[in-house]
């Protein structure tokens, strides 16, 4: 039985790692339950993130609000395609891709396949690494709304969608972390060292 945090190997039945003091468990039996719970929460939070306004811009007394997708379209209209692509990727492709990838991994645990373990492992690593980058849009909103406060000329206020989007990102990050990576490899009995 091995420690998750430092890799120290113990006999079965030891409850606390002798090296780093972390709690030990051979396999996290509640892993999949937590993955599904966090992911559902993430999906639920992602809906208002798209329907409610992300930013409210008041220019010379006129207020316009833009949603997540609206922000991307606006950037394309400004012809900043590179930045539009980054925002589109971070706030739409990554969250949707994560919902898909995590569900796929969680479902495939029930169907062992040693051949696929490497590609699943890579998929998991990509999901875990990339998830945090969705927060870009939240930081953009924070910066814009503190920066653009020029009295009557133009002001930008954050919208409620920023909150639900941030929550959605946090929930899916937790979903990815709850997934016990060793479940991917447990199926592979031949090379068990």
């Amino acid at each position: 039985m091995a420690c998750h945090s430092c890799g120290r190997v113990h006999r079965g039945g030891v409850i606390r790692c002798v090296r780093c003091g972390a709690a030990l468990s051979s396999r996290d039996t509640t892993s999949l339950q937590r993955v599904w719970a966090w992911m559902l929460a993430g999906i639920v939070a992602y809906v208002p993130a798209n329907t409610y306004p992300m930013l409210e811009t008041t220019q010379l007394g006129k207020t316009t609000s833009s949603t997540l997708v609206g922000g991307v379209i606006e950037l394309v209209a400004y012809q900043s395609y590179g930045v539009a692509f980054i925002v589109f990727f971070a706030s739409i492709v990554i969250p949707l891709g994560k919902f898909g990838a995590i569900s796929y991994l969680a479902l495939q645990v029930a169907r062992p396949d040693p051949q696929a373990a490497h590609s699943r492992h890579r998929l998991y690593q990509v999901v875990e690494w990339i998830g945090r980058w969705s927060m870009i849009d939240v930081f953009v909103v924070a910066l814009l709304s503190s920066l653009v406060q020029l009295g009557t000329a133009v002001t930008i206020q954050p919208g409620i969608a920023a909150v639900s989007f941030a929550l959605s990102v946090a929930f899916t990050m937790l979903a990815a972390m709850s997934f016990d990576q060793r479940l991917i490899w447990d199926t592979d009995k031949d090379t068990n060292a």
């Binding site: 420690c3 190997v9 950037l75 930081f139 990576q181």
Partner: protein, 217 residues
């Protein structure tokens, strides 16, 4: 883990083994030279990557990062000018942008991810490793501190904030004249230092050193 596997090893031999954190494959801890890497035979996760005088470098970089963070918080970050109106923003203002009404929790979240958690993480790393860099035994609670630093790693989002800044710059570029303040450069340097710092860190080596130098064993 099947009992048949562990039963063949004596307890003291267990300390000579390492389980891959990803797939649980057991390895004998190899002799890895400085600058080399040891990977798991099954899933190719890097198990060890020791560097020369890593402890000293990590501690130095962590101190640098702390100083840069303090500078980044207080100096002006960006200045926006249009029609004679100027708006100066610091990192603190960006955090407080969400501070009214329903978006208040988000303010706390942004504060945590770009300032508080990175600082806590740096503090924890320094607490755990600074005494070891000068050759002393680790302080009480060093193990917990290092575990905390590892757990916080995904939640410290300073580098993402920098990309967010770049996007925000493009969005306001057409609206007004922008000037970049010293805090922007401090923050950028902070991100680079943090990335370097994480590269020097070989977790297995650090855990084993912490264990070997523990005073009460």
């Amino acid at each position: 883990m099947e009992p048949a596997v562990t039963a063949t090893f004596e307890d003291r031999d267990l300390a000579e083994l390492v389980a891959c954190p990803v797939c649980d494959t057991l390895h004998r801890i190899p002799d890895v030279g400085l600058g080399q890497r040891a990977r798991c035979v099954r899933c190719h996760t890097v198990l060890m990557a020791p560097r020369a005088s890593a402890m000293t470098k990590i501690v130095m970089l962590s101190i640098t990062a702390t100083v840069l963070m303090i500078a980044a918080i207080y100096f002006p970050f960006l200045t926006l000018e249009t029609r004679g109106l100027a708006q100066r923003t610091s990192v603190l203002d960006a955090i407080l942008a969400f501070s009214d009404g329903l978006t208040l929790p988000l303010s706390l979240g942004v504060a945590a991810t770009i300032v508080v958690l990175p600082l806590v993480r740096l503090g924890a790393i320094l607490y755990a490793l600074a005494p070891m860099a000068i050759g002393d035994a680790p302080l009480r609670g060093a193990l917990g501190a290092f575990r905390l630093a590892e757990a916080l790693k995904p939640w410290a989002m300073a580098e993402i904030f920098i990309v967010g800044v770049a996007v925000a710059l493009v969005k306001v570029a057409g609206l007004a004249q922008l000037t970049i303040g010293p805090a922007f450069w401090a923050f950028t340097a902070l991100v680079l230092v943090t990335v370097l710092n994480d590269n020097f860190m070989c977790r297995l080596t650090i855990w084993r050193t912490l264990e070997a130098r523990r005073p009460n064993r």
